[in-house]
């Protein structure tokens, strides 16, 4: 999966699960302050990402360090590469 495909799929998760407008989905956006997610939403986000990409990320400690949408793109890319 290319980088752009991963970005598109992650954005789809935000649009489908959280109904966030496409225009807001920029890599620099802080998922808490700009997009309004809270710690419980992160659990839903992880589940949605797992379903979308078919990977297991729930127990990964690096999730705690995620702050921006760009961090999620990067994290998902790393997990995708690891799953290959």
């Amino acid at each position: 999966m290319t980088k752009q495909e991963i970005i598109t799929k992650v954005n789809e998760v935000f649009e489908e699960s959280f109904e966030i407008e496409k225009e807001k989905l920029q890599p620099q956006m802080n998922i808490f302050e700009d997009l309004g997610l809270d710690s419980l939403d992160i659990v839903d986000l992880v589940v949605a990402l797992q379903e979308k990409f078919g990977i297991k990320i729930r127990d990964d400690e690096r999730i705690r360090a995620i702050r921006s949408l760009g961090d999620i793109y990067q994290f998902t890319m790393t997990m995708q590469n690891k799953a290959k």
């Binding site: 699960s17 959280f18 109904e19 808490f32 302050e33 309004g36 997610l37 809270d38 419980l40 939403d41 839903d44």
Partner: protein
């Protein structure tokens, strides 16, 4: 002239507040303790919460009058049977006292600091206020659902902390998840005008007019198709819209 008003307001308010608390709280504890010998725990808790509401109403409505006026508006045409989840914007420490306008048996979802206030913190704990910072979500939701089953409404400030500057912060979703689980109606509450009563980090009260608007309840059947994230933002938008109107009216 304004300085004189400020001195009068704060002197009268704080002296009355301290004197009233010193007299009423021991009497109130004595009354509740005596009552608990004769009636069920549920009834004691009901009276306890009613007394706290009266205490709050006297402090926020009577003592600062006429320097601070509270204008309460209920958009519900006829009173509905509770319980409800009341969801409110949070600008000042006076918000907790302003909740005495709500004519239902309620507990509040609070942060750690209200529990640390001498005496009042103990009363809050005894009356079953929920400390969101000390509870994992599972425990919080279980306790909240138990209270709702008993007919006790819950008041939450989902911004989590006082915004101070009047701009509403993002909402936390816990209370909305409780709504989806319990099927309880959600009632948005809007408070405007108390940003400086008192300002965050200060105890100084400033004269003004505080408006509290209780908006129509959002029934479970209206929001059951929404996920917690969408629901919290829907309620946030309702509150933000009403606040814009309230502030435009002055």
């Amino acid at each position: 002239m304004y300085e004189l008003k400020l001195v009068c307001l704060n002197t009268i308010f704080y002296l009355s507040f301290i004197a009233f608390s010193m007299i009423s709280i021991p009497l109130f504890v004595l009354f509740i303790t005596s009552l608990s010998l004769f009636v069920s725990k549920r009834l004691v808790m009901k009276k306890f919460r009613r007394a706290i509401s009266w205490y709050g109403a006297i402090i926020i409505r009577l003592f600062p009058f006429p320097f601070i006026r509270i204008l309460f508006k209920d958009y519900e045409k006829k009173p509905l049977k509770g319980p409800f989840l009341f969801v409110c914007n949070h600008r000042s420490a006076s918000d907790a006292f302003l909740m005495s306008c709500i004519p239902y048996e309620c507990v509040q979802v609070v942060n750690i600091w209200p529990f640390r206030i001498p005496v009042l913190g103990i009363l809050a704990r005894l009356s079953g206020y929920l400390n969101i910072n000390k509870m994992p979500f599972e425990k919080f939701s279980q306790r909240a659902c138990e209270l709702l089953k008993q007919g006790v409404s819950i008041i939450a400030f989902p911004e989590g902390t006082r915004s101070g500057n009047g701009n509403m912060g993002p909402f936390h979703g816990s209370i909305f998840r409780v709504g989806l689980m319990s099927r309880c109606p959600i009632v948005p509450i809007c408070i405007s005008g108390n940003e400086k009563i008192p300002r965050r980090g200060s105890l100084l009260l400033r004269p003004g007019k505080i408006k509290v608007h209780k908006l129509p309840a959002l029934q479970w059947k209206e929001y059951k198709y929404l996920n917690p994230f969408t629901l919290k933002n829907k309620v946030r938008n309702i509150i933000a819209g009403e606040l814009t109107v309230m502030e435009a009216q002055g």
